[in-house]
Homo-oligomer: 92 residues x 10
């Protein structure tokens, strides 16, 4: 099942740069692991914003929430989740 | 270049059903032609809404606007277009 | 899997009363059929509004969208769908 | 009488982790006590958000406000409360 | 129990004046009956708008919704209902 | 002349509890003084929120602003002020 | 007492031009009468919009509402009314 | 002096196509006349919308409003006007 | 040329009172200088808010921005600027 | 290809002035370099706001995002990016 997720990141301005880098580095590793597993199917940067639009393919709401809330950046993000259904005009 | 497009459809309640069906039928044919051409890469229904999220892959803003404004449902839709850039954590 | 759905109904003022009644009557029958099937688990009126909050329990986004878009009032409603996950403090 | 409540939690980033854990632990205990008492009938996580949708069944506005404002996380939450009435199509 | 209700009226421009007058006249009678019964405690015009802020004192959500949805102007109004609790600084 | 005022309070999380209590205590005393003087006619808690809806009866905009801006919590509140006029259906 | 009022006009597209002209002509006459009486102190067009910002100087909310609701364009306008108080830095 | 103007067009669905074409044709001629006169300096289509972003260079608010309100499509457009000042980092 | 400006002030809660007073004192002096020069024609307090509505009469966008950005409170304010044109019904 | 970008700057109030000046100075140099290269075609101050409207002319979404995210003020700005297409009435 597919979900469109928009994530907006806002790091506190007083976070030490080394801490920020460490969090982003873990985020990247975890994100790529989920991409390689076929769960995080798409990941696009929104132009001009510290934000992304992603598409996830998972088996349940619980699986998705478990994944998202485990993101190292989760405490610094706001997310909007939109469930996607099959479109009758889609050729896929 | 990728664009995320959200389309919301609102047909006038007094449109004759035959006219609505004819427009939707042309919309579907045109949409599938663009999908087969690789321009309209994804097309998903938003659950519970007469709306879709789509991803287009085109060479320019002008090419995208020409396509979108040629949709038979265009006069009855509102659209939000978001340009998407490469994300540094994407494995693609 | 659970989804919270808010539905707001807006019937055109010039719809003949008999037509409105016929649509509402079919809506009620279909809604009760889904409730009895355990799919539409809760249905509450929002006080002061021609709107409801509902909880659906279905197996997939596609199943939910198929149900919702088959509602006789669907062309006259706007919907907001929120996927719900297990809460770690829930005792259920 | 039923109320739908949406709660969004935002903890200050500089709250010491031990303090946060202590508050969440008391929140969980209190929440489960209210669930077992039949007051807090449902508690669902909103997917991708540090938020929940809940249904309360209480005798009065005052009883609900007293309960909600006693939540250990109350100072860190925003809430939206929607009173729910019987829906004429509900089979319950 | 008290509820603050804001009501905004929007009559269709093509409603015949006689019909509008008849509806408003029934609305006024019904409203005054509820005021005399102590249910509709306050009724104030919002300056510059075809809208009012009202306070209702009823025993349950169901009682309030039944009253509000019986208003002759109900199909032409949008409403926002806010449950009110006792304030600890109130001297009443 | 009547005004509906909605007040939302947001105290900084790092305010020392003793200071917060001292401000709230002065707020309560001042609020009750205005209530007893017949200026602050109603004061209701919004269920689930650190907010209130109030009705003031004063002689002028200046009198109201002088009162409101003298509230000990004023620097920590946002306010929305709505002037109320006589409603033609009101029986008062 | 001063009030800032923003008025946005929206005439139905199917209103016969002669009727629109007649309403606007009465609106202008009435507006100028109130301006000459010192009640409608300022009247400015919002650039690019069929809207105005106005300042009224009246003795009470009721007087203002009576005036505004008597405007020939009132049924086709939305209004926002903001009460204005003396500013401590004003030299007037 | 420069102004950024966003214009959104919404033609009534029941406007006869010939009338729509005639209005658009006059709009285009008038727009190009203003462009050639150096008043309407830029005119860009918003991708996916029946809308444009424009930059006007005129001597006063009155001159701009006179121009905009003379557009044949003016009754069918909403506009947002933003005054632009010199930016200290601009090299022009 | 006239501009309506709404200014909302938000001082950081941890600003030392002496610094706040010094800024406000300079703001008042500068504001009164501009009022006496006929540039800042009106200055009104929004009832219940730390905000004002003002009318400026200046020769250009640049002149206005230079004035506004020189306000001592400018770093702590948000502003909305609306250009005002002559209204055809105004008697001035 | 053209993009309209609105940038709003919000510097933390506790940033040392020297640091702020150093960032703004680098921002200005970088901005002027991009202007001279023909990439940043227009740069206008929004009157009364610490914000600008800009037009960029670049070859791709990726090129634009790379530029924008390299701005020294990027961590302190919010941006809205709107892709612009050729307008059929434009004479350019």
């Amino acid at each position: 099942m597919l979900y469109l997720v928009r994530m907006d990141v806002r790091l506190p301005h007083d976070m030490p740069p080394a801490q920020a880098e460490e969090i982003k580095s873990r985020e990247k590793a975890y994100s790529q692991e989920l991409q390689r597993a076929g769960k995080w199917q798409q990941l696009h940067r929104v132009v001009g914003e510290y934000a992304n639009y992603s598409v996830f393919d998972v088996d349940s709401h619980d699986e998705l929430h478990t994944m998202l809330s485990a993101l190292p950046l989760f405490p610094y993000m706001t997310m909007q989740v939109t469930p996607l259904a099959h479109h009758p005009s889609s050729i896929r």
